[in-house]
């Protein structure tokens, strides 16, 4: 029993990890904590749903369509909201991205109503028996997909010129400009990638959960995962995501249902109590 709970937790954790990695990438590249990240996810997943169920298009067309939508959404958000706000104080960015979150929720409610929808499973089939535990093929599919997506992101950032340029830009903007790296192009690219990561997360999450306009709240779970892992560290975000996923799958068995919602926050406080910078976080050096 515990084994199948852990596998389910890993599946949910994969989604948290994708959300957290996207958030961290945006913070590192443009300094913006994207409170609309979960709503990027929500609305892109609705787009996938419409293409798949309402227009009855094949799976891959729906996925590619939703990813393309998410990429464009990310770029538009960067161009219209982030680029102006990032030169100002952090509070401006917070309110700007929160504003985007409400706008996207509003649009989604108009287009798809407040109802909940059943999203078809991508990995159907019988439960796999391992010992006494039975594991859903959906969970296994989600875990493998997430690993593939994160690996692709890692390879892109480390082995391609543009990916390395993005990392260079996050480390020293002036120097990157002096290399001839077009800063605005890279910002745009990173928000397109952020959108794509969010859309992937939503498409993997939706079959396990019902699809609704309220699912954007996952932003906060993602932020908590990122902080637990050591804010600003992508590997940390992945670890934080999986840790949160497993614990919020296993612990509810032992505690009253009403307390489920506080698991992430308790874990957050525990980790920060032991290591204030998070699991992989470096010591912050404040420059005077």
């Amino acid at each position: 029993m515990i084994f199948s709970l852990i596998v389910d937790g890993l599946a949910v954790g994969s989604v948290y990890a994708l959300v957290a990695v996207g958030l961290v990438m945006l913070v590192k590249s443009t300094g913006a904590l994207n409170f609309a990240h979960g709503d990027f996810m929500m609305i892109s997943t609705f787009v996938a749903y419409s293409l798949l169920v309402q227009l009855e298009l094949p799976f891959w067309v729906a996925i590619v369509g939703a990813l393309a939508f998410a990429a464009v959404l990310g770029m538009v958000a960067e161009r219209l909201v982030i680029r102006k706000l990032m030169t100002g104080p952090m509070s401006g960015i917070i309110m700007g991205t929160l504003g985007m979150a409400y706008i996207l929720q509003g649009i989604a409610k108009i287009v798809w109503t407040d109802d909940i929808f059943k999203f078809p499973e991508f990995f159907p089939g019988d439960f796999v028996k391992i010992g006494s535990a039975s594991i859903s093929p959906q969970s296994i599919g989600v875990i493998i997909s997430a690993i593939i997506i994160i690996t692709c992101l890692y390879l892109f950032l480390n082995l391609t010129k543009v990916g390395t340029g993005l990392r260079a830009l996050t480390q020293n903007k002036t120097a990157a400009t002096l290399m001839g790296i077009k800063v605005t192009k890279v910002y745009s690219l990173s928000w397109a990638l952020g959108g794509i990561l969010a859309a992937f997360a939503g498409i993997l999450l939706a079959p396990a959960l019902y699809l609704s306009t309220g699912m954007g709240g996952i932003t906060f779970t993602g932020i908590i995962a990122a902080i637990i892992g050591g804010f600003g560290n992508m590997f940390g975000a992945i670890i934080g995501g999986y840790l949160l996923g497993i614990l919020s799958s296993v612990i509810p068995v032992y505690i009253p249902t009403e307390l489920q919602g506080i698991i992430p926050f308790v874990l957050l406080m525990l980790v920060l109590f032991i290591k204030p910078t998070g699991i992989l976080g470096k010591k912050m050096v404040k420059k005077v």
Binding site: G165, A168, Q171, L178, M179, G180, I181, K182
Partner: protein, 238 residues
């Protein structure tokens, strides 16, 4: 090759450059001297197009580049090695070097140039897989210069390459710059270390609070009383 004609720039209300004219001939090594805040770095920022001009004109190889962007400056072959080195701390040495060639498309030649940098600075070859922040100050300066050269500069702008380095290493770096010059690279060098800069310069400008107050050949300025007193710390002997 590079001409700054009567350039004026400011940060907000603070005037950084006031009617400055500087010329750099092809193949020459030109130095800009001056105290902290005299406007030396602003000059290079203006040339790299990081700083907007309020008045004046920038000419590079006969073309007006006054309105071009920082990326266009790099594409034109104007490459700056910034003050404080500004290497990418979490990238490896090799990644830092390849970033220098970001605007180039000739993959084979880039590979050759990587080899060339390794022969210029063998220490960088030994450390090629290391994260750049683990290098010593001198090694970081070598990396910053090598990264600049990876762009195949038509003119190399260097901002205080001696800053914070031990005298022995400063000498290494200056003799390397001299070699570069002799190999045909055009160099514009900004320095507080006036003695070193004047020794290798063909021509030099002295900036004081945003104005050019003195200019001449490197050797001439080394003998100039005012330069000796203000920048070399040598009192006039009776």
């Amino acid at each position: 090759m590079l001409k700054l004609n009567n350039i004026t720039c400011s940060y907000g209300k603070v005037l950084a450059l006031d009617d400055v004219s500087i010329h750099v001939e092809k193949g020459a090594l030109v130095s800009i001297l001056g105290a902290n805040g005299a406007g030396k770095s602003s000059c290079l920022k203006a040339i790299s197009r990081l700083l907007k001009l309020q008045a004046g004109q920038l000419l590079f190889q006969g073309n007006d580049i006054t309105k071009s962007t920082p990326e266009q400056a790099v594409h034109n072959g104007i490459i700056q090695v910034p003050e404080g080195r500004m290497i990418f701390p979490d990238l490896t040495v090799t990644e830092n070097l390849t970033m220098g060639a970001y605007c180039r498309k000739d993959k084979k030649e880039i590979q050759n140039d990587l080899e060339k940098m390794n022969s210029y600075f063998p220490i960088l070859k030994d450390r090629r897989r290391q994260i750049a922040s683990t290098l010593s100050g001198g090694e970081q300066q070598m990396l910053a210069i090598a990264r600049g050269l990876m762009a195949r500069p038509k003119i190399l702008l260097l901002d205080e390459p001696s800053l914070g380095l031990a005298p022995v290493i400063v000498e290494d770096i200056f003799s390397f710059l001299l070699e570069l010059k002799q190999a045909g690279t055009t160099i514009l060098l900004v320095e507080q270390n006036a003695f070193m800069a004047l020794q290798i310069a063909d021509y030099a400008y002295v900036l004081e609070t945003g104005k050019v107050t003195l200019e001449g050949q490197g050797k001439e300025l080394l003998e100039n009383e005012r330069v000796r007193e203000s920048y070399l710390g040598i009192k006039k002997s009776k």
